[in-house]
């Protein structure tokens, strides 16, 4: 897959069927500050794509545009060939963090069950919904915490609940905004394992700061710093990263892990 698209920056290689996500000349600005300029890329079914870029570069904005939570100033975004407002019901979304009221009385299970919601959810929760929410929590290692108040969980456990909430939706596209920001290594591995278990049909788009994670987990990256480029990870050269992050590239190297032009990563003892 990497080689077949190596010649292209916009990801418009030969794929059968409609793209899952299609950005067509999309620009967006907060007031007068442009955040995304002329984004043009497609993501196809079964692809695993990572979104990288500096802080304030527009990564979360890109996800919110995909979800129809923000409306582009120019251009068009299609999800599964539909408008974002229609297509997003097939998307599982894990936000970086949620603003929630710590006194709001919901359990981890209640939160996970919200992934089963649709505009036609009337009346009480069905046994099947409850069972799948339990199963998703168990997959994230939270079987014992299901009945606990959401607010009483640790930051990492809460994020695991939010991932479970996205998994129970049985979505075809999963959007993860920094899924490993608050979780420990074990939880990260559990997440990766459960994502793999979901099969090849699932399309996954992950926002990440962790370039090592990018290089070992995904074949394609979307680089966002106002401009948006889709590359195979193999073509993510050091020069490209420097251009993307400016000075921050040094910080990455101080973490003893950085990407080289062959798509691997080095460990400096």
């Amino acid at each position: 897959m990497m080689s077949e698209s190596a010649h292209s920056d916009c990801g418009c290689q030969a794929h059968s069927g409609e793209p899952v996500v299609c950005f067509d000349g999309v620009s967006f600005s907060y007031g007068r500050t442009p955040v995304i300029e002329d984004a043009d890329f497609d993501i196809y079914q079964g692809e695993s794509v990572c979104v990288i870029g500096p802080n304030g570069g527009g990564k979360s904005t890109l996800l919110k545009l995909m979800l129809g939570l923000l409306t582009p100033d120019q251009g068009e975004i299609r999800l599964f060939g539909q408008t974002t407002k229609l297509g997003r019901a097939r998307v599982g979304y894990v936000p970086q963090q949620i603003e929630f009221d710590p006194l709001f009385p919901v359990s981890a299970l209640d939160v996970a069950l919200m992934g089963r919601l649709s505009k036609k959810s009337f009346g009480f929760v069905s046994q099947a919904d409850r069972a799948s929410a339990y199963e998703a929590l168990a997959k994230m290692g939270l079987a014992d915490q299901a009945k606990q108040p959401f607010a009483s969980l640790s930051g990492g456990q809460r994020q695991a609940v939010l991932i479970a909430r996205a998994l129970v939706a049985e979505s075809e596209l999963l959007l993860l905004d920094e899924p490993t920001a608050h979780v420990d290594v074990a939880a990260e591995e559990r997440l990766m394992k459960s994502l793999k278990a979901l099969g090849d049909e699932l399309t996954v788009i992950t926002v990440s700061h962790d370039l090592a994670f990018v290089s070992r987990s995904v074949p394609k990256v979307v680089c966002v710093n106002r401009c948006v480029h889709l590359h195979p990870t193999a073509r993510l050269s050091e020069a490209r990263i420097r251009e993307l992050y400016g000075h921050e590239v040094r910080m990455v190297q101080h973490d003893h892990e950085h990407l080289d032009s062959h798509g691997g990563h080095h460990h400096h003892a």
Partner: protein, 286 residues
Amino acid sequence: MEATIIMLEFFKALLDPDLGFLRNALLLGLIGSIPLGAVGTFVVARRISYLAAAIAHSVLGGIGAALYAREVLGWSWLHPMLGALLAALTAAGVIAAVSLRSKQREDAIIGAIWVTGMAVGLLFISRTPGYIDPMAYLFGDILLVTRSDLWIATGVGALIIAILLLWHRQIVAVCFDAEFAAIRGVHADRIYLLLLLLTALTVVTLVSLVGIVLVIALLTLPPAIASLRARSLGQMLICSIVLTACFVLFGLGLSYSLDFPTGPTIILLAALVYLVANGSNRLCAK
């Protein structure tokens, strides 16, 4: 011991054929405690007591306009409670629009809606011939409770419960995380409006018993007490309904025996229990 005597006296009075108003008041309170506890739970959990208060106060505008229309325009079919209902629903719609769409200072605008409703009501009342005491509507008067209030409360209460039974999952999801609910296809803004409309309906059902000002305390204090211990929204809701019913029953009993005004007695009882519950909760936590 004394409390038992007071309540026994009250139960005897309830059976007295000459004191029908007392039975009506108690029935209204008990019927009303179901929507009050249920909707109050969502109001407290979502922290929109302030919006509920604004809706309740603007009800006076509707009552004033209805009284005026009955006396001056001869619209005798216009029950003041119907005017209250229309005013509350309108206020809920405007407040939902302001709270969802306005880029201005939301709290200032809602404060303005609150007072505007009251001012409109007082103006209409001042122009209505005959003496009408606005105090009765502000703080409640059990002599105002009529059979038709009971029918209205039963109908409105049943409607509220039916809506909650159907839509509670969507309401909970929107209250907890509106963004995610919207992604799941729920019309988050409409559900929020629905919650405010339910609040408006709830407030109106009990206005004649405890009044516009005090109904807010009865809407928010029982769920606040329940939330100290409840582990789920369902527990909080059931506990709130039971508490509200108890406050109405014992508040009415106390006010009858001690000859206190009913609304303030019920509210003070609720406030006292809240203080004690909060205090003991803090002690237990230490």
